[in-house]
Symmetry: C2
Subunit: 594 residues, 2 copies
Amino acid sequence: MPAYKAPLRDMRFLLNEIADPARLQALPGCEEVTPDLIDPVLEEAAKLCEEVLLPLNRSGDEEGCTIENGVVRTPKGFPEAYRAFCEGGWTALACHPEDGGQGLPHTLSMLVEEMICSANLSFGMYPGLSHGAYAAIRAHGSPELRETYLPRLASGEWSGTMCLTEPQCGTDLGLIRTKAVPSDDGSFRITGSKIFISAGEHDLAENIIHLVLAKLPDAPSGTRGISLFLVPKFLPAEDGRPGVRNGAACTSIEHKMGIKASATCAMSFDEAKGWLVGQPHRGLAAMFTMMNAARLGVGIQGLGVAEVSYQNAVAYAKDRIQGRALNGAKHPEKAADPIIVHPDVRRMLLTMKANIEGCRALSVLTALEHDVSLRHPDAAVRQAADDFVSLMTPVIKAMFTDMGFESAVTGMQVLGGHGYIREWGMEQFVRDARIAQIYEGTNGIQALDLVGRKMPSHAGRLLRRFFHPVLAYIEEKGEDERMAEFVLPLSKAFGRLQQATAEVARRGMGDPFEAGAAATEYLRLFGLTALAYVWARMAEVALDKADEDPTGFYRAKLGTARFFMERLLPQTGALTSAIMAGGKSLREFEEAAF
Amino acid sequence: MPAYKAPLRDMRFLLNEIADPARLQALPGCEEVTPDLIDPVLEEAAKLCEEVLLPLNRSGDEEGCTIENGVVRTPKGFPEAYRAFCEGGWTALACHPEDGGQGLPHTLSMLVEEMICSANLSFGMYPGLSHGAYAAIRAHGSPELRETYLPRLASGEWSGTMCLTEPQCGTDLGLIRTKAVPSDDGSFRITGSKIFISAGEHDLAENIIHLVLAKLPDAPSGTRGISLFLVPKFLPAEDGRPGVRNGAACTSIEHKMGIKASATCAMSFDEAKGWLVGQPHRGLAAMFTMMNAARLGVGIQGLGVAEVSYQNAVAYAKDRIQGRALNGAKHPEKAADPIIVHPDVRRMLLTMKANIEGCRALSVLTALEHDVSLRHPDAAVRQAADDFVSLMTPVIKAMFTDMGFESAVTGMQVLGGHGYIREWGMEQFVRDARIAQIYEGTNGIQALDLVGRKMPSHAGRLLRRFFHPVLAYIEEKGEDERMAEFVLPLSKAFGRLQQATAEVARRGMGDPFEAGAAATEYLRLFGLTALAYVWARMAEVALDKADEDPTGFYRAKLGTARFFMERLLPQTGALTSAIMAGGKSLREFEEAAF
């Protein structure tokens, strides 16, 4: 069975040496977020993930969820683990103190999320969805709704869902058919069918709070006519405890490729009582508040699975003896050398490592900006940080989940035939990671979001939040000879990104099809350039410390940075060529000829 | 449930317009292999695959194989399908007429194999393994062994296996421990444990013929001390029917990510009676005779799965309505447009199509050379053809299976959330295709075979079998303006391949680690250049016929060729950069730092 140790050393490095700790601690409510506070939180989270969640990952996959008469049961051990999770305060980590939360910043909670996703992706879905519901109600709910629901979502006693998809519509929410009819008491009656509802029904929490997209009777057609409703499984009684059962039921659960311990439900709403969240017909905007946070969270799922797959691939590669080093036996006393001596095995492991640590660095920098965007006293600073997060959200969602899947596939490859056997657990990571490329907006949709919304937004203002610091960094470090091996490749990749950006913007202005035709390659080009930027920054810190480092941590950073620059970053050239070729070959292909 | 229609139109195009039919028909025994013979064979194969094998693919995956007291049962319907398969003569298709086979060329049987892999990869494993055993016994067995076993393997009454892997060794067969002790009657007693034995035990055939690698008492250590033995499940009786049970038993079957209807067995040999195949201590060479054919066959598995995934992704993309075309509604009368209007969906489908049709063309050209290598009267011609096949074998095995997996993943992505649900069948293709990158030598091993054996072999003679025709083609078509859009990119890719070849050869000569460090990228660069070559040749044929083609087949070829050249082939640039960077970053990374 796979093992997992939370990468606390790397996390501390990012928090203390790459992100700006002073910037975080200057934020209202974050004054205490120093290493003294952070370290025990990370260590406790690691312990929970390693000792409680990880051991349930394989068994959860084998057992899956079951449904009988509308009652969904999670796999053995899940209810107990969920209880321990709530009692440890982990559901409340990033919730507001007003709601009983600990009010800790995203910079910290995102690292905890990564650990949860490494240990047990399916389990992480349940509190993850609650967090989205919490955020939407907190941002858009009435004071009554907030008072009734937020503390219980924060404590984990109740859990949440996001009910968007219907059989006839996923990406195109303008097509939804679920209806909401006003009642006299100010509530609504919700009727319709939803599918693919994660955590729609289960036995972990005593109540489930559905956030449901539906249409009011006078709704305009399309996405501008969608409203958001809060629909609890049990209507809260006078005392605030779960009361009468509402008309929301799970009719079936899906049989999926992976995340089998996460209940994916078809839900039927039959005149269920609900309350409006936010303005009528403005539900999609309210939903997007939480979708954006959720998309960052899904990106972290990719990162988490990549990390656990990497760790187990390394362990196997050091243990499995097979063949001899190409330049002569490394361990002549043994029957063969461990396979980690082989260059192609090293290539696989370093590819995973370079992508994982690059993505983790980018996630920490983005999470910090996320906290700044929410907490900084100066509106202009908040806006600048929000721009950065908005820009990075599709990149993190799509690139991290692609990287997560690719890493899981590579980790499996390191194990050869054993990777294909269920008992070893590596193939589960592949199956689990696969969903993250699809849900919360497929990665194709993320790419469209980047080129179609984020790029043109405010005449390129969002783009500049990333382009300007990178450019300044290249200029600042351009003179530093020690940094040349990192800054030159970064500079080359960044030049390609600028060229591609200008071209996509120019063409897309006249013809949106052209922007769409470049979108996926553009997102990857953007993401790789962002990774080059964080790798250069990590290498810069490591250069000063590598010589006096008994643990080898900084030397490893330098070696990984070199590998990234030499072997992975050249990909930006191929992507740029594909982008510059334009969309003609896609457009002119006759539909019948597919 | 997925549908499948064999791509007969494309297959006929390749046989008649890309391969040289006269070259095939000039081979001894192939005089009759004209369209009159080929068409009905392909059509009958298509019917069998579409109507008998495909309907068992999903149920086979759900049900899997079971074992009880050493008896393995395949899923419902498999025994009946196998009977129909044998009665149709499909096991005997490429077997020698002396053994009751039909003696048809590989050029034809490889296309049939592709269809089988599209329809039901698990099912195809059973006759596929028999074919390997047949080839090894025919090439290396004594006259008695050939007489006893070959006709029954050809008819499919008996099936075969390849027993190589043991718990402590997969890639490194020098480590095997299974022992063979001579008996007085000229037979041997085989004792040992084997794992990952496909079709090791099942209920399809009345006897199973294991080809087992084992060591004789006087064996030198390492791979030069391995011998090959034939070990039947039942010892043939006087009348040639299965007689006494031999000491070969299945102890368990593996639980795998995919190909669940293929029984993957742990086998225990306990003083089992066997006969030597080929020379003592030369078993690995004998095994490689069939391994090479098997590697081509595994490449075809990738192609087959890619094709069926593509077909179902296209069907979904034409059917599913969601969102509007970016340049304005294509079907304003409907609630939304089919998703095939979206550029990113088209990009995904064209990527699959370009890779699939390119690989199929390369497979047909290679299969023809395979037939030439076996049948041509002139030894020099046979050698030249054999060189080409030897060179292409690792490329086809690795690139086709990588492409097969990537295509299955992409096909699944086109379906969005539905792709992740088991009922739709798309995720099964991903799980099934995954194994092909691992078995018969991982794709990393294929890459090492290419740079470490095939490239330096005979001072580059094998390489020249591919480089010379490509160079001649570029020179010949360089003047043709209509061909410029295909020949220029081909020429650029080929230049990169030449540059990378020179560099890898130079560095690898002094330091094998350097060759290994470049191997995976080099194989892909080689493969993409080979695809560019066949795409240019297909485009050349299509240019003349596109205007007068009511079906659009040739226009589609041109459009796909353009897409390949513009959007996929630029990858060669990134690969070349990674190769030229060398192995330093891989070599210097400290083992403890992973």
